[in-house]
């Protein structure tokens, strides 16, 4: 499957990775090449095969409902770019 410039632009927006206009074409080529190579998977007959999401043959462990974390706003805000009054801050979002 060959990707178009517009598809690359759309994916880049979805992934929030800026790709400059002049980079779209080369990126489309590169990704298309990789996808083309990946598509050899189509040769494999996977009829009736259960998709494998984890190699771990056990059930999901759970923890008891106990409060044993949090309570330290300084720890979560330390190293934050531009925190304000105990909040993280970002450019204004208009809803």
């Amino acid at each position: 499957m060959a990707l178009t410039r517009d598809q690359v632009r759309a994916i880049a927006l979805l992934a929030r990775v800026r790709v400059p206009d002049e980079g779209l074409e080369p990126m489309a080529k590169e990704i298309s090449g990789i996808l083309h190579w990946i598509e050899q998977l189509n040769e494999v007959d996977t009829e009736g095969v259960e998709p494998m999401t984890s190699v771990v043959a056990m059930t999901l462990p759970m923890r008891p409902d106990a409060v044993d974390d949090g309570g330290d706003p300084a720890a979560v805000l330390k190293g934050a770019p531009e925190p304000v009054d105990g909040f993280y801050a970002v450019p204004k979002v208009v809803e």
Partner: protein, 503 residues
């Protein structure tokens, strides 16, 4: 007595126990070696003070008769993918430059609790995405087996990746052991390139808590050492169930070191015929056959096995890993930590930050991962890959019905020059052709240095085992190690020692 930086972990532990030298002396020797080998760029951060402090405490414990065991006072290098409390952790990325976690990964915590002294954080491919260490935002690592330092003309070689800094550090005598992480070969392939031992344990053996995630269903931490026994010792300290990682296996750890000295007589070892790929170099093929021979000579039974979906492992991996990565790396957005590049709007800020913070390989994989998960393509790519992954795992299960371990090459070539294979991503991806299948199946696998290429560069052989059977992997690996009699000292560090390839 050889130099302190030439020792293995077990030897050093014995020396410490006998008071031949102190942990502080051991640490000083390695700190000096690290400082003297900065040209390799193996470390992103050096932590000499912390190492000395840990060593001093270790000496104190030993004096008081409270030694914590074999790792107490051993200088270790830590891949910069493990979060380390109070020490910058970057994952080799500009986006995390300056990030100092207030927490410790479970694996490094386990090692520190065993008394190990961290001497620094090693360089790696950005977010562990690469097989050459050239994608690091902190510059490439040079393979200690490359041309002797200072000799002009010859090109520097890659150490492999992504745990290239760790592999180089061990090979160059900068630490007695190092942690690596392996997602598709990131421990084994650099181990092969640098002539050291690298063990990727079974998925779930070591906790992923506190390790910067690349592809969560594949990532696994493991030891990188000079010999098999050391790998077993280190694994014993790293591994164990961790309730903070839901995929961590609640399975007790056996005495790995004991397993490493068991003979291989009667062991059934499989040779997967599909690994004999087209265009495989004759020297790799020859080494592989030599490995067979060594095992047979020690009483193992070697038989051919079939892993029919082998050739689909790489394309499967290059769907699964980028898909998971695209999601795992969404948290690097400039809001709560790490790099922020301002923008007019929130979305501008995101896009500016992530374009500037991620290197080209990471960006490429995020885009591929985003694409294969996106509406209309999920079934064709991601779901398909999950199904093929199931078939690959089934291949191994079938093979392990008749054999106890599998022997294969680790990498299709020795280390290549920095700058090579960079134009064609697929050529780079092919480095992992022999390591990725075991990763997809979550199986333990180890690379053991087995010989030198015609050009005098190390080559590794790989042992793959059943899930949670690292013991057999270690046992077979030790047999290869014994037979190969590999000298792990890179030529560049011993220029006087002639005959290690005439480059």
């Amino acid at each position: 007595m050889s130099a302190l930086t030439d020792l293995g972990i077990a030897e050093a532990a014995a020396g410490l126990a006998k008071r031949d030298f102190s942990a502080v002396e051991l640490a000083r020797a390695h700190i000096a070696a690290v400082a003297g080998a900065r040209a390799l760029n193996a470390f992103i951060v050096e932590t000499p003070d912390a190492a000395l402090a840990a060593a001093a405490e270790s000496d104190k414990r030993r004096q008081d008769g409270r030694s914590l065991g074999v790792l107490d006072g051993i200088p270790l290098a830590i891949k910069d993918l493990f979060c380390t409390e109070g020490v910058q952790t970057t994952a080799g990325s500009r986006i995390l430059k300056g990030f100092v976690p207030a927490y410790e990964s479970t694996v490094t915590r386990n090692l520190k609790r065993a008394g190990a002294a961290m001497i620094g954080k090693t360089n790696l491919d950005e977010f562990a995405m690469g097989s050459s260490n050239i994608t690091s935002a902190f510059g490439p690592v040079k393979n200690p087996w490359g041309p002797p330092l200072g000799r002009a003309g010859n090109k520097e070689l890659v150490p492999g990746g992504s745990s290239g800094g760790s592999a180089a550090a061990i090979a160059a005598g900068l630490a007695l052991g190092a942690t690596g992480t392996d997602t598709g070969g990131s421990i084994r392939q650099p181990a092969s390139f640098c002539g050291i031992v690298g063990l990727k344990p079974t998925y779930g053996r070591c906790s992923r808590f506190g390790i910067v995630a690349f592809a969560s269903s594949l990532d696994q931490a493991g030891p990188m050492t000079r010999n098999v026994k050391d790998a077993a010792l280190m694994l014993g300290a790293m591994a164990g169930h961790d309730p903070r990682d839901s995929t961590s296996a609640p399975i007790p750890c056996p005495d790995f070191a004991r397993a490493a000295i068991a003979p291989v007589k009667g062991l059934r070892v499989g040779i997967p015929k599909e690994y004999r790929i087209e265009g495989m170099s004759s020297e790799i093929d020859a080494l592989w056959r030599k490995g067979e021979q060594w095992l047979r000579e020690q009483g193992a039974e070697v038989v051919e096995v079939s892993l029919p979906h082998t050739r689909y492992a790489l394309p499967t991996y290059y769907i699964v890993a980028p898909a998971e990565a695209s999601s795992n790396l969404a948290r690097y957005d400039g809001v709560r930590f790490g790099l922020r590049v301002p923008g007019e709007t929130l979305d501008d800020m995101y896009m500016n930050t992530r374009a500037a913070g991620f290197g080209p390989e990471v960006r490429r994989r995020i885009l591929i991962g985003t694409y294969v998960l996106s509406a209309g393509y999920y079934d064709a790519y991601y779901l398909k890959a999950q199904k093929v992954r199931a078939l690959i795992a089934r291949d191994f299960r079938d093979a392990f019905a008749t054999v106890d371990a599998i022997l294969a090459p680790t990498a299709p070539s020795p280390a290549f020059a920095i700058g090579e294979k960079t134009e064609d991503p697929i050529a780079m991806y092919l480095n992992d052709v022999f390591t990725v299948p075991a990763s997809l199946a979550g199986l333990p696998a180890m690379s053991v240095p087995a010989g030198l290429s015609a050009g005098g560069l190390p080559l590794g052989l790989q042992i793959i085992g059943r899930a949670f059977d690292e013991e057999t992997v270690l046992r077979a690996g030790a047999a290869i190690e014994r037979a190969a009699g590999f000298d792990t000292r890179p030529s560049r560090l011993v220029p006087a020692k002639a005959g290690k390839g005439d480059r």
